[in-house]
Symmetry: C3
Subunit: 363 residues, 3 copies
Amino acid sequence: MPPADATTDKPAVKSGLAAFEEFHALPISEKIALLSRGRELYHCLFAEQFDRPLLDRLGRLCDHLRVLTKTKEGDDFVATVLSHRRAMLYFSQPSTRTFLSFQNACHILGMKTCEIRDPRTSSEMKGESFEDSIRTFASYTDIIIIRHFENNFAEHAARVLHGTPRVVPIVNAGAGTFQHPTQALLDVYTMNRCLEGGIEGTTLMLVGDLKRGRTVRSLALMMRHYRDVRILLVSPPEFRMRPDILDALRAAGVFYEETSDFAGALSEADTVYMTRVQDEHDAAGESRAVNVAGFVLRPEHLRRIKPKAIILHPLPRRGEIDPAVDLDPRAAYWRQERNGLWTRAALIAMIFGAEKALLARIT
Amino acid sequence: MPPADATTDKPAVKSGLAAFEEFHALPISEKIALLSRGRELYHCLFAEQFDRPLLDRLGRLCDHLRVLTKTKEGDDFVATVLSHRRAMLYFSQPSTRTFLSFQNACHILGMKTCEIRDPRTSSEMKGESFEDSIRTFASYTDIIIIRHFENNFAEHAARVLHGTPRVVPIVNAGAGTFQHPTQALLDVYTMNRCLEGGIEGTTLMLVGDLKRGRTVRSLALMMRHYRDVRILLVSPPEFRMRPDILDALRAAGVFYEETSDFAGALSEADTVYMTRVQDEHDAAGESRAVNVAGFVLRPEHLRRIKPKAIILHPLPRRGEIDPAVDLDPRAAYWRQERNGLWTRAALIAMIFGAEKALLARIT
Amino acid sequence: MPPADATTDKPAVKSGLAAFEEFHALPISEKIALLSRGRELYHCLFAEQFDRPLLDRLGRLCDHLRVLTKTKEGDDFVATVLSHRRAMLYFSQPSTRTFLSFQNACHILGMKTCEIRDPRTSSEMKGESFEDSIRTFASYTDIIIIRHFENNFAEHAARVLHGTPRVVPIVNAGAGTFQHPTQALLDVYTMNRCLEGGIEGTTLMLVGDLKRGRTVRSLALMMRHYRDVRILLVSPPEFRMRPDILDALRAAGVFYEETSDFAGALSEADTVYMTRVQDEHDAAGESRAVNVAGFVLRPEHLRRIKPKAIILHPLPRRGEIDPAVDLDPRAAYWRQERNGLWTRAALIAMIFGAEKALLARIT
């Protein structure tokens, strides 16, 4: 077949859903290569994009940003680096924390932001295709940060732009029940910072709705880059981790164990990672039938936990951690939350190639 | 009657609707003079405000802004020019594109923005008059950008402020079925940029719901400033251009022709300007009874269109242009959309008298 | 009892509502001391926090900001002072004016802002406790500005943060039917600026729904710092000022008089302060049964008012002031509204210790 001529009736590139489904079916390593645009980091879509050197560099940049922003001079300097960039925050799924931390991360870097949080104020969009909306965001801004209830929305957005003359980076800020890579980045950063000696050789206990918790899925994948990590998967039978992640752990030689024995696992863990039931993904309230009473962290559990362990939670919490636990020095979820600010700032800085300029500034 | 004393019971100035209706009934040239405040451009309300020299200057400023913002240094310079100005975006009608392009245009110029997009978050306003709301916006900001479903809302807002000590410029970002002058500005800019030799002597084909499409109405009026333009008005009988615009074209000696023959007109056009059905203005779904199937641009039409013609659309589109057409090099609607950013930035810069400062900066 | 160890099961600090209720029951002077963090002004929660020296300093800073921002150079300077600070605007009650004036005040000071105005876009919060939401805002930003329909929400937020390692200032931007201290600050500033010789020795007439108008409650309390002020409380019997404020006035030796005679009081007042019916606090539309027809300011009243008096209104108005009154030079409510911008900017600058840096800049 001769190369298709754009002025004929048969376009060379499949448009719309068909083209995406073909792309989506590729192995993830091929997708990453296709989407990388010859850089180390362009779109941020999957936990799988981050290898150990990249995670280490992100951590260093985070540390540097924290120190720089301790003074007004440092803060004002950081805000010059990307002052010429504008971000679009497209959050079609309700969000407080991820939205605010991305927006403030942009502001720390001096970027301007615009947002669509409420579909009704842009109902003009209802009549237009997803592809057209994404191209429109790319017309006006330099990066698009997306949260969506569909698993493949961000990936699809990146694919759409690659067929156009104006490509901007897409950041996945939470995709359905699939992945939440930036949450995993901040979790990794927090573990490395708070665990003596870092992640290697430690035991990570993941608790709760492991089936639909996109956060724990992304985090488990990242554990493959750290030696001798053990993962304890603690959930009611209905909320067990799905096989795709278990397969990936097994293939990477990561030890994991599935159990419903919450209290028993507690004493083995270096990181106790609690999560809530993801009932927003229920089809018909089926979560209510699951007994999660045995997966709640209460003050009486604290004596079981190792003295140097840390307790994490991606937040928001509902009943999974009794607020009285907050007073325990091992409770690190509020520091973890604040780390989201630095991690996301570091990530965006890296996407725009500003890592060097930031590190060059002596604090 | 002696001049009324403000402390007596009979105010000199009619307040509210009565005063506005008297003003509104004036010929447009008188209204423009009254609202101009002795400047070339203050409020931006009507397509009629723009003569050829002003359009040419706007185009030059657009070009200059595009070049300046290609580098970080240029971008940072542009953001200093209006860093002391704050804009209010009051969009009571759903909008994605116009809202985002105005907001990002402000950000390019270093302006701060605030917004009301969702009437419910400001329902405090429900109890207050339109006049009081506009005065409030003027109290806090330096320019008010308005989209509203009422035809005369922006004009009314300008009139209200002229009776007060604090007047700020009003920009009409889309008014009912009446006008959308900034869309016409970006359309003119795109045509001048993409058509070899510019607009003069070309044929503009306007397709779709010409009756209620405020965009095509404003654009048609601007064609009066370009010599030897022919306009082909292509629509179903129900959606024909209203007589006010036809009268204005006739008075200015612009050739136009009304037809329903979409395919026939295509081969004559230099600019094929497609639009969607404006069914948000339906009283009772009457648009559904109109057969628009014959006014859709499909790949099979492309061979009919001149090789150097351009295809435009104000977007969002629904079915009017098959996405496969996007791949044709004559499809210019995405470039047109992005031009909205520069055109609106140039317009605001001109309103605030920043044209000179921007042009003085050598790129 | 030995000091509680945070790693035991019994936390030393009561968490949640119980702890707050204990705190809330303290006398206001003790609360202010506990919340002050050793500074003159940290949280801004109650009208009672402002003594005469502080009010005078705020007024001076306001005046200085007004002058500084008359030029681009001054404006650009002011925007450097807090360029490293980020504000959270949490407005769970509909608001236009207070929201916009706080946001623009932040922008004047060079601060970045983020906002939650629509609870639905953050419905993730529904499942989480109030305490957790506040801590989250504090994680990402440097000050939290709150409007809420609950009387004690802002105070509660401040109390929550004091039990955590990251405390940021809380500003009460309107709390239920209780207080609205920043409105009172701008009212005081406006009175001092517009009344010849300032507030001392003048008569303040408060008109309308004095029972639930948080604005007039806060303003009345501030009058205690000015010598020889007389307060005329003019309302229908159903809307009389509540006893807590009357007690506070009596204890401070402020003369007040309650009356329903609107026309009679007008001729005695130096400041005529009109307010609307606060029917958003109705349980079942009970406001409709109250006859407020006699508490409306109309052009025919103007001849009764002293020639150098001023007319104020916190806005929005509904029917309380006929728009024809706007033309009277004594109508100062639009200037009052705009003063909100400067007052809030001055307040925030003072909270962040930027008063000196601003005053040091010669205009």
